[in-house]
Structure formats: structure tokens, C-alpha cells
């Protein structure tokens, strides 16, 4: 039996939820046991996701793309690897179909990594540890499910599963000051987003005859152009809300800040990717004509994200809010990459999802490590941490370098292609909109690339400010005795995250060709642009 026959994807999806249910049977006072079970499950899931990543067959994916490009109508079981299916509600055309391609495989690995490290970082949680892991694992199952679902209904199902536990996780274990507000804000935004997207999805379902939610079938439904143009914004914006698109981004910093550390890691590291990913899978891939019509102007929204997020991050006084707004900025780059609809931009976006996911998980982990010990996140009250947590400082600096797109780190591998993708694209308007003396802005989207790239300077400014205020300078006297170095398991978690960031930066070929196979298929659907 080869690895491709083992239902490994289904196991990855259901294992966390199953372990979550199992955890409920653990006696309430056995926190240590609950943590150990969670750690073991996290490790197993992480290892399985590594197996999927390593055994993903790239030559096969390339040959499949070639056959698709030549017009062959391959079934989903051949397009996606590790394919697995069983019927669910056949009467409604709903089935459970899972599989991965070059776009989703890295995200599965990312989720496995964030889950494992997230469990380690959560060891400091004291209140209701068992229940915390129950919800965290249900959330993880939902996230895995979205990345691997090939059925639109199942995708929505898992999407809601991923969003719902977030409310409880924030409202119960969150930061006391804002947790209720933030949990409510986040849930409302995301539910509204998914409802808007669902409307578009249902429109597709009925327009395709109302018999199947199968995404590969829907890709070939040839929706009329007017239909696509009408419904694309529903689906795309609906999902992109979860990706933090301007002006619907405000749930995210508040949510990040209020959430407990592991949830912030999941939230910014993985959950926001769900939005961008679903916007690609259901928005761009099913409605390519709509995408071609709308995305050229939506790229402006993402530009606002990039600059605006960075700009606000620069003046925040709360450590975690800085990171929260930086996520808004970086996720803008992801959606911007997809919005270019060309090879380089989308490859960059695919890599950026992983790079940002790992980086921001690292950031939030570091924030948590410091907050848990000194109980403040105000930048003015922090300082000199390098003395007590040198390794954490180093990890944070690596994350910072990724964030500012320093070559040699994954951020550069992701952002450089995105700028390349934006560069030279034609804008959505015909004819001049800028005045005569700014005529050079009229021809193409270069100026978007320029503005986005200049925001790197702002990114550098806030990252440096953080490093300086938190890790260097005077160590505040009132924390004397409160601050200790983190334990080896936490260092291991940070080390894993750093390894990915540096590894991609130095050996981009560990991820880029894989993402390329995924992008290639999107390009075929877009009509070989």
C-alpha cells in the first residue's frame, strides 16, 4: 500500500477534533495529562502534515497541469493528490471529498506547524486548560478541513467550524479588558462575511443545475460572464473579510489582541489564510471572468491594506496591537498577489501565506512569552528583555527581518514576486485618471508596486521600534525577579518557526515549485493568461 492510498488527509482533518472530544473525558483536574495528550496529538498531526508535504508528487502535478492545459477533463481524483471521498448527503449533492494540490499542501503543513507550536506555547494557560485544548482542536480540524475540501458545502461547513470556537476561545480565555467586545466583533464580521459568500456560492450551485457542490464540476460549469461579474464580489469580498481586506479589517487587530497566545497564533497565522485561500478557491477559480473584471480595482483595496496597516502599526503603544496591524498590512500583500492574476503575483501570494503565517505565529508567541511574565504589553513599560530572554530576542529579530522583506529570509521570497506580479499590470481604468504631470501613473500599475514597496520602510520602522523598545534599553526595575528565560520546549517551538523562515529564505525551491503547480492550475482556469 503506498502512501497515496492511506486516507492520510481525512486522518489529519478528523484527528484533532477526535482528540478534542477525547480530551473531554480527561478528569477536570488532570491538566498535565490533558496537555500531554494535546501535545502528542499536535505532534502526530504535525508529522502527518510533513508526510503529506514531503510525499507530494510534483512531477505528477506538473503532468496533470499539462493534460488539463491541453483540454482534458480530468476528474478531481486525478487533479488532487491524496484524494479521498465518501458520500454525505447525496440527495443534496453534498459529499466529503478531500485532496491537496500545490497551493494547499504548504498550508496544511503550516497549520500542522502552528498547531504543534501553539500547543507548546499554551502550556502556561492555567484556567480550564482541558477545555481550551478541546476548542483549539476543533478549530484546527475546521482549518484543515477548509484547506483540503473539494466540495463547496464541506468547505463552508469546515469554515464555520473554524470560526465558531474562536468566539469561545477569545471570550473565555482572552484578555479581560476587551475580550467580549473583540469576540463579538470578530464573530459578527466573519459570520457576515461567510453569509455573503454563501449567497454567492448558492447562486453558483443553482446556476449549475442544483445537483452538485463539487468544485471541479463547478469549475467546468461555464457560468455566463454577466453572472460571474454579478456574483464574484459576493464570494470574493465575503471570504476576503477573513483575510482582513480593507475596509473590513478591523475585527482582526482587536481579535488578535484579545485572544490568548495560541489562539492569536492560529488566528493570524492560519485563520486569515483561510479567507484568502477560500477567496482563491471559490472566488477566482470558479468565477474566473468575474475575477478578471473585478480584481484590477480590488487591488487598490489591498494597497490600502498594505500601507494603512503598516502606518497604524507604527504608532501603536501596545505590543500586540503593533503585530495585529502588521498582519493587516501583510495579508494585504497576499490578496494583492492573488489580485494580480498572474504567475509571479500568485506564487508570491502563495509563499507569503506560509511566510506570514509562520512569522506572525512567531511574533504572537513572543508577545505571549513576555506578557505572561510581566503582565503588560505597553511598549513604554517594557525594555531590556534581551538580558533575560536572549534566544527569544533572536527569534523575534529573525521574524522582524522576514517582516521587512530582508533577502535571505522567507519574506523576501514571498514579497519580491508579488511586486514583480503587480509591476507592469494594466490598471482597471481606461484612459488617464491622474493629472498631466503625473502622467506616468496612468499607463500601468507600477505605482502600486512602488507604493507597496515603500511601505516596507514603514514596516522596518515599526519593527525596529519594537525591537528597541521591548528588547533593548533599560530593563524596568519593577519587573526585577519576574522575568525568566523560557523553557526548552518553548525554545524548540520558536526554533521550528525560525527554521522555516530561514529555510525558505535560503532554499526557496523547497516551496516555490510546489506553489507553482497550484498557481499553474489557476492560470489554466483563467484561460492561460
Amino acid at each position: 500500500m503506498s502512501i497515496q492510498d492511506f486516507p492520510i488527509i481525512s486522518v489529519i482533518v478528523f484527528l484533532p477534533a477526535a482528540v478534542g472530544l477525547l480530551l473531554m473525558l480527561v478528569p477536570k483536574d488532570r491538566d498535565k495529562l490533558a496537555y500531554n495528550i494535546a501535545l502528542a496529538a499536535g505532534l502526530v498531526t504535525f508529522l502527518l502534515s510533513i508526510v503529506v508535504y514531503v510525499s507530494f508528487d510534483q512531477p505528477l502535478a506538473i503532468s496533470v497541469n499539462e493534460r488539463l492545459a491541453s483540454g482534458e477533463l480530468l476528474p478531481a481524483s486525478e487533479i488532487y493528490q491524496f484524494y479521498d471521498e465518501f458520500d454525505w448527503l447525496p440527495a443534496l449533492g453534498i459529499s466529503f471529498k478531500v485532496g491537496v494540490d500545490g497551493m494547499s499542501t504548504p498550508l496544511v503543513l503550516l497549520t500542522g506547524l502552528v498547531m504543534f507550536t501553539g500547543v507548546i506555547i499554551s502550556q502556561r494557560i492555567e484556567e480550564r486548560k482541558r477545555e481550551f485544548f478541546v476548542f483549539l482542536f476543533i478549530l484546527a480540524s475546521g482549518v484543515f478541513g477548509v484547506f483540503v475540501s473539494l466540495d463547496m458545502f464541506a468547505l463552508f461547513f469546515f469554515y464555520e467550524i473554524a470560526v465558531f470556537p474562536m468566539y469561545l476561545l477569545i471570550a473565555i480565555w482572552g484578555w479581560k479588558q476587551t475580550r467580549e467586545y473583540a469576540a463579538m466583533k470578530l464573530t459578527l464580521y466573519l459570520v457576515i462575511g461567510s453569509v455573503v459568500a454563501l449567497v454567492g456560492a448558492l447562486a453558483m450551485f443553482f446556476a449549475a443545475g442544483g445537483t452538485t457542490f463539487d468544485m471541479v464540476t463547478l469549475e467546468r460549469a461555464n457560468f455566463p460572464r454577466d453572472f460571474q461579474i454579478l456574483w464574484f464580489p459576493f464570494v470574493f469580498i465575503g471570504f476576503a473579510i477573513l483575510g482582513g481586506i480593507f475596509p473590513f479589517h478591523n475585527w482582526s487587530p482587536d481579535g488578535h489582541v484579545a485572544a490568548p497566545t495560541a489562539v492569536s497564533m492560529f488566528h493570524a497565522g492560519v485563520l486569515m489564510k483561510l479567507g484568502a485561500f477560500a477567496a482563491l478557491r471559490i472566488g477566482i477559480m470558479l468565477l474566473p471572468e468575474g475575477a478578471k473584471f473585478h480584481l484590477p480595482w480590488m487591488i487598490l483595496l489591498t494597497l490600502v491594506n498594505v500601507v494603512y496597516g503598516a502606518y497604524i502599526a507604527m504608532v501603536q503603544t501596545d505590543f500586540k496591537y503593533v503585530i495585529g496591524f502588521s498582519s493587516v498590512s501583510h495579508m494585504g500583500l497576499v490578496v494583492m498577489g492573488f489580485a494580480t492574476l498572474n504567475h509571479d503575483g500568485m506564487v508570491g501570494a502563495g509563499v507569503q501565506m506560509v511566510s506570514h503565517g509562520v512569522m506572525t505565529a512567531l511574533f504572537f508567541a513572543v508577545v505571549g512569552m513576555i506578557y505572561d511574565q510581566v503582565h503588560t504589553r505597553q511598549l513604554d513599560e517594557l525594555g531590556g528583555m534581551v538580558k533575560y530572554v536572549p534566544h527569544v530576542t533572536l527569534a523575534f529579530i529573525v521574524g522582524g527581518l522576514v517582516s521587512m522583506g530582508m533577502p535571505g529570509f522567507s519574506g523576501f521570497i514571498a514579497e519580491f514576486p508579488i511586486f514583480m506580479g503587480v509591476w507592469g499590470e494594466k490598471p482597471f481604468w481606461n484612459g488617464p485618471v491622474f493629472p498631466e504631470w503625473l502622467n506616468f501613473l496612468n499607463g500601468d500599475n507600477n505605482w502600486i508596486a512602488i507604493v507597496a514597496a515603500v511601505s516596507i520602510v514603514i514596516t522596518a520602522a515599526y519593527i525596529i521600534r519594537l525591537i528597541r523598545k521591548v528588547f533593548f534599553g533599560e530593563f524596568p526595575k519593577q519587573f526585577e525577579g519576574h522575568m525568566h528565560d523560557v523553557n526548552p520546549s518553548e525554545k524548540l517551538a520558536l526554533g521550528l518557526l525560525v527554521l522555516v523562515l530561514v529555510g525558505i529564505g535560503i532554499f526557496p525551491s523547497v516551496i516555490v515549485p510546489m506553489v507553482e503547480t497550484g498557481v499553474e492550475r489557476v492560470l489554466i482556469l483563467l484561460g492561460g493568461m
Partner: protein, 728 residues
């Protein structure tokens, strides 16, 4: 890959390994860390010399450089290849980088007080304050070892790695990677003493200012890549057809051609990295770091990298040039370079800090190189780059030695209010620190362009000769005046520091530094003199035949054939001007500053009046930038974008929606739910109807088991019927 090419790949590796090994394994041992650091630099040095000698022995090196490349980043269906390359230009740069880096590493061992005891109250992040030792019953304060001794060698190793990578890169992207690594290291090293607020400010300033340039450079790289599909130097710069297309294609930006725009964007990168006006502000503050770092930044690596990059990209900068008509990037370079050369020299006149004077002289000298490139004097720019690296490294290390000597005096008198860097606290150090004095003098004379002997004279003279020969008289005039000022402030510095009588007690007790520090000075002073002789113009009276202008012929062939230019015709005018400004400046400097007792009586202060204040405050650029860029953008971000846009507008709208929803909920409850639903449905439907049902159901509830069975059967069959016939 051939063994020989492998050697080139391996050149940057030892310092990188040193970085990791020191940081991870040898952090506790000072002895191990300096040995690893210096050993790594020595290995790279030896390898570089082997490569250099091989490069010298290779015929037609310009057309067929050494090196090889590998697949790296998959982009757009193909692979982005990175590789290493040694052509005449990189060979020469490699030569001076390897030497200066090794010298700086050796010097650092002494500079950080290797062999001295641990300090009494030294803290990490602050310079060492000295240790008390008892000798024969007397208590002495002696210099103490740097508390982060090991870490320094790790960081500076990474710095060297960045520079070697940059020099050997065969494409712009790899060059950019080396470039950014150095940016990072300069940040870490300028802020090495992060306990000092001024160092913390300086590290941020350096990083952010160069970053502004870097982003534009990245855009230039993106533009080149999107238009040509490659970033390889050979593919872009040595293909006349590519350059012609680039020079004629319209970029749609302000009327520039693609080549013009890319050239200007790349040049902005250099403006940041090589501290040209208007991004020069970071470099003088960068001396907050330890002095070897200053030498690294000012001579061996960082700022040289900026000039190296535009020398490297010169064919692109010059693309579209015909018959001496300068292209727009060249014009920009000529203007900014010449202006910076003069502008920075004026500021240097009024500085009293020994390192600050040197910092401004660096900016000024870099302006020379940039201006030289702007007027097409490619070889002269490269020549000055090399000679400047030698004599500026020498001067910076020398100033560090002076400061150490002064600190010795401060420890002796225990008067910690005396600034050991202020030249007005010095004087008469010639007899106290003879080795430092003589080497510093050589460096200073080279910087001033002391005729015939020093390297600085030959390289500076070549730039002036080029400017004169090609009729760029404005540039010529700017550079000539700047040369005069350079000679003047250099002599001011030497006079105030070394000549005359000691002005303070501390200067009286200054002490020559150890051989760790002075030996590198002597080595560098050999090059500060000797390296000029390889580039003596062939037609130069008497001396012309010495080396047949070897440098020009060697470096000139880094350029593609169609750009190669012969050295300018010999002319007496620029030579005469060079002689006059150098000797005049030096003489005047000595005469004016011979007997100045204190800063208050600085003769320039009287002569220039309020202008002197302006110069002393560096034309108030720091203040202006702080107001224009930093405060204003913070204000905008905080007050407008965050508070008004994000919190008031977007969140406000959200809260409004929430409030309206709640209000509607209230309305529904009060005017619909309670009166209508509760009254009608609740009381009528909800009350009466179930009551009726209940009454009916009561009849079924007979208590007879058989009746229940019959009912259950009916329901089951009914269900089956529905399932089989209706849902199918």
C-alpha cells in the same frame, strides 16, 4: 564545478562560519572567539589573494571572468540563477576588502582590550569603564576588556560575509542580499553599545535611512528584471542590444528611458548606502559604534559597497550616452556627487570630534567617486575607491588609537568629564604616540592628496584630470574647492591632535597603544602610499613609465569594449590645480591652527561668524528631517490614520450599525413582539391552539397498550412510505 571556482564560492564562508560558531559555541570564551574571528578573516584573506593572483594571470579576464552559477529561486517557469564572478573590478575590490577586513579584525582584538582584566562595573551594552588593579601596593586604573568581546567578533564576521558576498555576486539580486546583510550588521554594530541612548538612536537612523535607499534600489531591480528577464551582470551589461533597447524604451515615468529610470533607482540605493546628499545624515552618527566598526563601515565595506554597485552597473548608467552627452543617471550622479563632495567638506571644517571630521570627509570623498562616475571617469572612480578604502581605514583605526590613548589619560586623571574624542582636548600627541602619529600623518596626507608620494594624490588627480579633459568645468571646480578644504581640515585635525603642546592633563598622560592596534596601522599605511603607484598616468612627466598605468588597463577591461575609454590626455592644468590646493590647504591649515588654545578661539569661528554655527550644526539637516519626516508622519499616522480613519470612521460606522441594530431590536420588541406576537400569537395561537390539541390528544391517551402499538405501527409505516416513495 571546478575546484578553482569552488574556491571563489568558499571565500565568504569562513566569516559566516565564524559568526555561527562564536554565537553558538564560543560565546563564553573570549580567546576562542577572537581566534576564530581573526582566523576566519585570515582564511578569507588567503583565499582572496589566491583568487586575485589567478585573476591577474588570466588573459582577457574582462571578457571571460572566473566563476560559476547555480539554480536558486524558481521564477516564471525558469530558475533564477545565482553565482559568483571575478572580473578585474571585483578582483581589485576583493583585494582591498580582504586586506582591510583582516587588518580591522586584528585591530579589534587590541581595541577591545584583549588581555586586560574584567572591569569593575562594566555592563553589557556599554563601553568598558576600566578596572582597578593593584601593583606593588599601588592602585591603578587600567583599561578593562569589552564585556561583549565574543559577540563583537560574531557580528563583524557576519558583516565581512555580507561584503564578500556582495563583491563576488554575479547578479544584482545576490549583490542586494549582501547589501542587506551589511545593512543589518551595521544596525547591530552601530548599536553595539546599546546601553548608550545615542548609539540606539544612531543604529535606527542608519538602518532606516539606508533602507529608504534600499527600497528604491529594489524597485530598480524589479524594473530591470521585468524588462530584461534577468539580473545577471553579464547578460544585461555586456549585451549591447539589451542596453540599446533599454536606453530607447520609454518607462512612462517622467520621460525617462527604462535604462535611465533603472539607473536612477539603483543610484538612489547608493545615495542611501554611500551616504550621499540628501541621505547622508546617518553616516556621521554611525561612529557611535566601536571604532573598528566605523572603519568597516567607512572604508572596507558598507559605503564602498554603494560605490562599487554603481561602478559595476556603469554600462547601464551610461546606456544611451553618445559623444560625451551624459545620460540622466550620469547627470544625477555628477550633480549629487560634486555637490556632496563640497557640502560635506564644509561641514567637516567646523567639527571638533576627531571621528566626526573623518566621517564627513568620507561623505565628501564618496562624492568624488560618484561625481567621477557621473562624468564617465569609470576607472578613476574605481581607483579612488581602492585608495580611499586604504587611507580611510587607516585614518579611522588611527583615530581609534588616539582615542584609546586619550582614554588612558582619562583613566589616569579620573576626570570623566573630559571627552577623549574632542580634538581640543588633545595636542602634542606626536611624542606620546609616535607610531599612531606617523601612520595617521600618512593617512592624512593621502586624504589631502599630498603630491607624488601618496595614493590619494594619484587617484584624486585622475578624477580631476578626467573632469578637465572632458570639459566638465563645474564639476571640476566643485571638486577642486573640495580638495582644498579637505587638505585644510585634515591639517587642522593633525595639528590640533598631534602637534603643539598638550592642551589638557589627559593629553599629557596619553599613551601609545598596543601592537595589536598599531601593527595594522603600519600595514595600511604601506598601501596608503604604495597603491597609488600602480595607476600613474603614462604621460606623467618622469614618473610615467613606472607602472604604465597598469590599473587603468586592468580595470578598464571590466567594461564592455564599446565603453572602454583611454586615460585622459595629460594636461598641466589639473595637475597644477591639484598641487596648489593640496599644498595650499595643508600649509594654510598648519598656519592657522598652529597655536589655537581652545575651541572658543577657533579662528574659523571668527572668520565665518554665524555661518560657523550653521556648519557646526551640519546645516540643521537632522532637525529638519526630524520635523519634516519623522514627526509629521508619526503625527499623521497617529492622529489621522489611526484615531480618525480607523477608530472614528471605520469602527464608528461599525458601532453605529450595531447601535441601530440594537435600537431596531428594541423597537421590534416593544412595538411588535410584545403587542402583536405575544398578544396574538402568544395568547391566541400559543395559548388556545395547543389547548385544543391537548384536548384532542387526551382522547388518544387511553392508557391501553394495544392502541399505542397500533399508533406506532401507523407512524412507522407512514414514515417508510414517505421515505420510499417521496424522497426518492
Amino acid at each position: 564545478m571546478e575546484l578553482n571556482d569552488l574556491l571563489i564560492w568558499l571565500l565568504p564562508v569562513p566569516p559566516l562560519l565564524a559568526f555561527f560558531v562564536i554565537l553558538l559555541l564560543a560565546n563564553r570564551s573570549n580567546r576562542a572567539s577572537w581566534m576564530i574571528g581573526v582566523g576566519a578573516a585570515a582564511l578569507s584573506f588567503l583565499g582572496s589573494m589566491v583568487v586575485f593572483v589567478r585573476a591577474l594571470g588570466t588573459e582577457h579576464l574582462g571578457e571571460h571572468p572566473l566563476g560559476s552559477s547555480l539554480d536558486w529561486l524558481p521564477l516564471n517557469g525558469g530558475f533564477f540563477r545565482i553565482g559568483v564572478m571575478v572580473d578585474p573590478l571585483s578582483a581589485v575590490v576583493l583585494f582591498f576588502v580582504a586586506i582591510t577586513v583582516l587588518m580591522i579584525f586584528i585591530y579589534s582584538v587590541g581595541y577591545h582590550n584583549w588581555g586586560q582584566p574584567k572591569g569593575d562595573h562594566d555592563q553589557k551594552g556599554l563601553p568598558p569603564h576600566g578596572a582597578t588593579v593593584e601593583v606593588h601596593g599601588h592602585k591603578h586604573v587600567v583599561p578593562s576588556i569589552e564585556p561583549m568581546f565574543a559577540r563583537f567578533f560574531a557580528f563583524i564576521g557576519l558583516f565581512a560575509f555580507g561584503m564578500f558576498t556582495l563583491v563576488l555576486a554575479d547578479n544584482l539580486l545576490l549583490l542586494f542580499i549582501g547589501w542587506e546583510i551589511m545593512g543589518l550588521c551595521s544596525y547591530l554594530l552601530i548599536g553595539f553599545w546599546y546601553g548608550k541612548p545615542s548609539a540606539r538612536d544612531a543604529m535606527i537612523k542608519a538602518f532606516m535611512t539606508t533602507r529608504v535607499g534600499d527600497v528604491f534600489m529594489l524597485l530598480g531591480i524589479a524594473l530591470l528584471y521585468t524588462t530584461t528577464g534577468t539580473l545577471s551582470f553579464r547578460a544585461i551589461l555586456f549585451d549591447e542590444s539589451v542596453l540599446t533597447v533599454l536606453a530607447s524604451a520609454d518607462s512612462h515615468v517622467l520621460g525617462f528611458s527604462v535604462a535611465g529610470l533603472a539607473g536612477i533607482l539603483l543610484f538612489i540605493g547608493t545615495v542611501g548606502k554611500s551616504a550621499q546628499f540628501p541621505l547622508h545624515v546617518w553616516l556621521p552618527d554611525a561612529m557611535e559604534g566601536p571604532t573598528p566598526v566605523s572603519a568597516m563601515i567607512h572604508a572596507a565595506a558598507m559605503v564602498s559597497a554603494g560605490v562599487y554597485m554603481i561602478i559595476r552597473m556603469f554600462p547601464l548608467m551610461a546606456a544611451g550616452m553618445d559623444h560625451g552627452h551624459l545620460t540622466s543617471p550620469m547627470l544625477a550622479m555628477a550633480a549629487i556627487g560634486a555637490f556632496t563632495a563640497l557640502f560635506a567638506a564644509t561641514i567637516a571644517l567646523a567639527q571638533n570630534d576627531i571621528k566626526r571630521v573623518l566621517a564627513y570627509s568620507t561623505i565628501s570623498q564618496l562624492g568624488y567617486m560618484v561625481a567621477a562616475l557621473g562624468i564617465g571617469a569609470y576607472v578613476a572612480a574605481a581607483f579612488h575607491l581602492v585608495t580611499h578604502a586604504f587611507f580611510k581605514a587607516l585614518l579611522f583605526l588611527g583615530s581609534g588609537s588616539v582615542i584609546h590613548g586619550m582614554e588612558h589619560g582619562v583613566l589616569h586623571t579620573s576626570n570623566h568629564h573630559v571627552d577623549p574624542q574632542d580634538m581640543y582636548n588633545m595636542g602634542g600627541l606626536r611624542s606620546k604616540m609616535p607610531r599612531t602619529f606617523w601612520t595617521f600623518l600618512i593617512g592624512g596626507l593621502a586624504l589631502s592628496g599630498f603630491p607624488l608620494v601618496t595614493a590619494g594624490f594619484w587617484s584624486k588627480d585622475e578624477i580631476l584630470a578626467d573632469a578637465w579633459a572632458h570639459g566638465h568645468l563645474i564639476v571640476f571646480a566643485f571638486l577642486a574647492i573640495a580638495a582644498f578644504l579637505t587638505a585644510f581640515y585634515t591639517m587642522r585635525q593633525i595639528t590640533l591632535t598631534f602637534l603643539g603642546k598638550p592642551r589638557t592633563k589627559e593629553a599629557e598622560h596619553a599613551h601609545e597603544t598596543s601592537l595589536w592596534m598599531t601593527a595594522p596601522l603600519m600595514v595600511l599605511s604601506v598601501f596608503a602610499i604604495g597603491f597609488g603607484w600602480v595607476g600613474i598616468p603614462e604621460k606623467f612627466p618622469i614618473l610615467g613609465g613606472f607602472s604604465n598605468n597598469w590599473f587603468h588597463h586592468f580595470i578598464g577591461h571590466s567594461l564592455p569594449e564599446w565603453l572602454y575609454a583611454e586615460a585622459p590626455e595629460f594636461s598641466w592644468v589639473p595637475l597644477g590645480v591639484s598641487l596648489v590646493v593640496a599644498l595650499g590647504g595643508l600649509g594654510l591649515g598648519y598656519l592657522v591652527y598652529r597655536n589655537v588654545p581652545s575651541a572658543e578661539e577657533d579662528p574659523l569661528r571668527k572668520a565665518l561668524g554665524p555661518l560657523h554655527r550653521v556648519l557646526q550644526n551640519k546645516y540643521y539637516f537632522d532637525e529638519a528631517y526630524d520635523f519634516l519626516f519623522i514627526r509629521s508622519s508619526r503625527w499623521l499616522a497617529e492622529q489621522f490614520v489611526f484615531l480618525i480613519m480607523d477608530r472614528k470612521l471605520i469602527d464608528g460606522l461599525l458601532h453605529l450599525v450595531a447601535r441601530v441594530t440594537f435600537w431596531l431590536g428594541g423597537i421590534f420588541r416593544n412595538y411588535f413582539d410584545i403587542p402583536v406576537i405575544n398578544q396574538f400569537i402568544g395568547d391566541t395561537l400559543g395559548g388556545a391552539v395547543p389547548q385544543w390539541f391537548g384536548k384532542q390528544l387526551r382522547k388518544v391517551q387511553t392508557g391501553v397498550v394495544q392502541t399505542y402499538m397500533i399508533l406506532a405501527m401507523l407512524v412507522a409505516f407512514g414514515g417508510l412510505f414517505i421515505f420510499m416513495f417521496i424522497t426518492r
